[in-house]
Symmetry: C2
Subunit: 453 residues, 2 copies
């Protein structure tokens, strides 16, 4: 069977490609996972085309792997079994803005940056920011989150409805525009985070929020991170309304200073953001300083100036980039465990020891308000010893998280990189996941090899 | 087969009953739906017993209907196909309080009132309050919500993990104690709101929050409810942090005055609650009064005194009770649609007209911040004309909601009462729900006749 010829009956041939350049754009993502070529890349323009493509693929047992911006850190978009790479980039419309209700309707191929640019004039913003330029469909697929999650929730928390094409080509809606519902089984919940293994998300209705009147960024430097984490717990249990709480370890600050030519104190640092009304912020900031008094804070700095705030956040945002820059011959491996916050300082201490033992260049950063932290480790994947060290490090960190009520992935998803931990993490529930996957995708054509075997 | 004899091999015979009094306690709930007797009532003490009971039931095709406090408004706990009524009332332990993390682990039979009583000494509270004394397992089963949902979310939003006994007797966990995760399919989402049709929830890990420093209750009386709803939208889009926003229509206020011997102005009224730090509350209250200035507010009253606040909320809480008291020979039917808030005033206007046309005694109340409102209608279920009028009213209100991006049930669940709207609301997605139900419960023993056919 000539797939290209068959697909040409469904979509304009100009949107079907087997050109080497296009194939190689779709054979990798932002992770260290090995490349794999799709047989063909298709760029549908609307849901009906997606439905026809998937129905065709289903009939002929052709694997379908959805592709957004290729920003995955776990190989989600890599078509390991070949077949169709379904690039949703053309389905990037902002279809509706519900100003009064606080929602938007978007095509799955729209990115979070594009959405936020378009929302500015409405005085609204979308809260989930995984850092990278990712599509909203992809972010729903992995249940992405980010620095604002501590206040505004994960991707799943912000989905009201999705349009999804099922493996048989049927088009469903998983929710409605009502902000809550007790009607039917909650399909939005199960499709968010299903990583393209149950169907293709083509459209999303997402919650958006009024842009806060003002923001304040603050930075607190601590002698050690146990003190830092305890301080965060204190602020949280005092009911302080923090919009972001980001941890950066001493090694990472050293990296920032080197590459950004800054002169931050090279000790564990927490970056905070507060947002809301000006008067409220001043009061909260005052309370924050009071609550931090019992702690040995080496330095505390608050910035209300927008440009100064941005410089402060740049240090955090560019960190992965600095690590990559510092080791141009190596590849980046990022761990992603999440634990109850009461387990966090011991977990980070354990992780730091594991990093030291590994001998790898690595920094630890984290969304500490959520109990989620990352080791950004650089390893030469052509060097067997470094690969083994990276693997051992990853195992050690995941083992620790699973033994302490945590999860192997807080926000990056399973893909191919965390699949080997699924059975250990979920136990008998993993069998149930398999049952659901098999019931919805009996031929196993949807993003095969990811999440569920 | 002698079910009682077989069950006696699993649980102590003292916890198995076919006594008329016990059967009749388990043949109804708080709704107008007809009674139906279980063959036997069993009171398991732990998850292992539930597992053994369900495995036995599965093997012999015996229906299992979970029972909490019987507070359902849609017949969830009524065993229409007989079999086992599984009363989880003995599994009511508060097993753990994670003070630093903000979670509790509870048996499914614990009620929300019991939980909140026990949490007081920890300075914590559980936010989901459907009004009635309901078990937390039952509340998870229907994805219950209530007046605090506008700030703290629904039951589903507050579940970190559940222990569930599957139809085959297997015990799974649907999540973990990490506050976010991208690992595996999101089973907590699909089991919350599954109404006992996929398995029996035996234990829950729930989010809890620090008790706020202070609360203020406020009451604003408006000339008409369109003005009232517009005012709510204005407050919300201004970013005001409201903990409760409850609407009560003029007829309902009249009912309150009559039964509670109060003298409230008999016009559409919004009850608000703000919570947080004292200083912040004062500022918010000032902003609220400013934001309400352009509206024709007949009366605005704020109460910081705890007892006065409780009196204010009593009026709202006792409303259903007053309607029942006012029509002792009749039964209460409560509708439960939820729409985008921009559709709400037209929906309530439509509902008021439908009530007037029905000739039934009825009030309209609502969680307007969520777009969820209820008609509390009293009808004589022995009178065919009144039954027909009640049915017509219900249909009209649901039709309107479904035609305006809404849902047939915002918080009460489907049970038997909303099943006939499921296909209309969910379209092809209802087939997928059936597929999932069949994959998990192939013999259809779990709460048969509810939610999914």
């Amino acid at each position: 069977m000539d797939i290209v010829k068959e697909l040409s009956k469904i979509v304009n041939p100009g949107r079907i490609s087997t050109a080497a350049a296009v194939i190689s754009q779709h054979n990798h993502d932002a992770s260290y996972h090995p490349e794999a070529d799709p047989d063909v890349v298709v760029f549908p323009e609307n849901t009906e085309e997606v439905s026809a493509i998937v129905a065709f693929a289903s009939e002929h047992g052709v694997p379908v792997t959805p592709f957004g911006k290729g920003s995955s850190l776990e190989g989600h978009a890599i078509p390991y079994e070949g077949g169709i790479s379904l690039d949703l980039g053309l389905m990037n419309d902002l279809k509706a803005v519900g100003d009064r209700d606080g929602y938007v309707v978007v095509g799955a191929g729209l990115t979070q940056f594009q959405l936020n640019d378009a929302l500015k004039k409405h005085g609204l913003f979308f809260s989930v920011d995984p850092g990278a330029e990712a599509t909203l469909g992809g972010m729903a697929g992995t249940n992405a989150s980010g620095s604002y999650t501590v206040k505004y929730g994960t991707m799943r928390d912000n989905i009201l409805d999705m349009e999804v094409v099922l493996p048989n080509g049927e088009i469903i809606h998983t929710g409605s525009k009502a902000v809550k519902s007790s009607s039917g089984l909650h399909l939005s919940g199960i499709f968010a985070g299903s990583e393209g293994t149950l169907g293709i998300i083509t459209e999303l209705t997402l919650r958006v929020y009024p842009i806060p009147e003002a923001t304040v960024a603050a930075r607190a430097v601590f002698h050690d991170f146990e003190e830092a984490v305890t301080a965060v717990v204190t602020l949280r249990t005092a009911g302080l309304d923090l919009a972001r709480i980001e941890f950066v370890d001493a090694d990472s600050v050293t990296h920032v200073n080197h590459f950004a030519k800054t002169a931050y104190i090279e000790q564990p640092t927490i970056f905070f953001e507060l947002n809301g009304e000006v008067e409220h912020l001043q009061h909260q900031l005052k309370r924050m300083e009071e609550l931090l008094k019992p702690f040995e804070v080496v330095e505390f700095l608050a910035e209300t100036d927008q440009a100064a705030q941005e410089r402060l956040w740049d240090a955090r945002h560019n960190l992965a980039y600095y690590y990559i820059q510092g080791a141009p011959t190596k590849q980046m491996l990022v761990t992603d465990v999440c634990l109850p916050i009461s387990e966090l300082s011991a977990a980070i201490l354990h992780a730091r020891r594991a990093v030291d033992e590994s001998g790898l260049e690595a920094g630890i950063v984290g969304h500490v308000g959520d109990g989620n932290f990352h080791i950004i480790a650089m390893a030469d994947f052509a060097d067997e010893k470094e690969v083994a060290a990276a693997k051992l490090l990853h195992e050690a960190v995941v083992d620790y998280a699973l033994a302490h009520d945590g999860t192997c992935t807080g926000e990056h998803g399973v893909g191919v990189g965390k699949k080997r931990y699924q059975s250990r993490e979920h136990g008998t529930a993993y069998d149930l996941m398999r049952t659901i996957k098999h019931a919805i995708d009996p031929h196993g054509i949807m993003n095969p090899g990811k999440l569920i075997d």
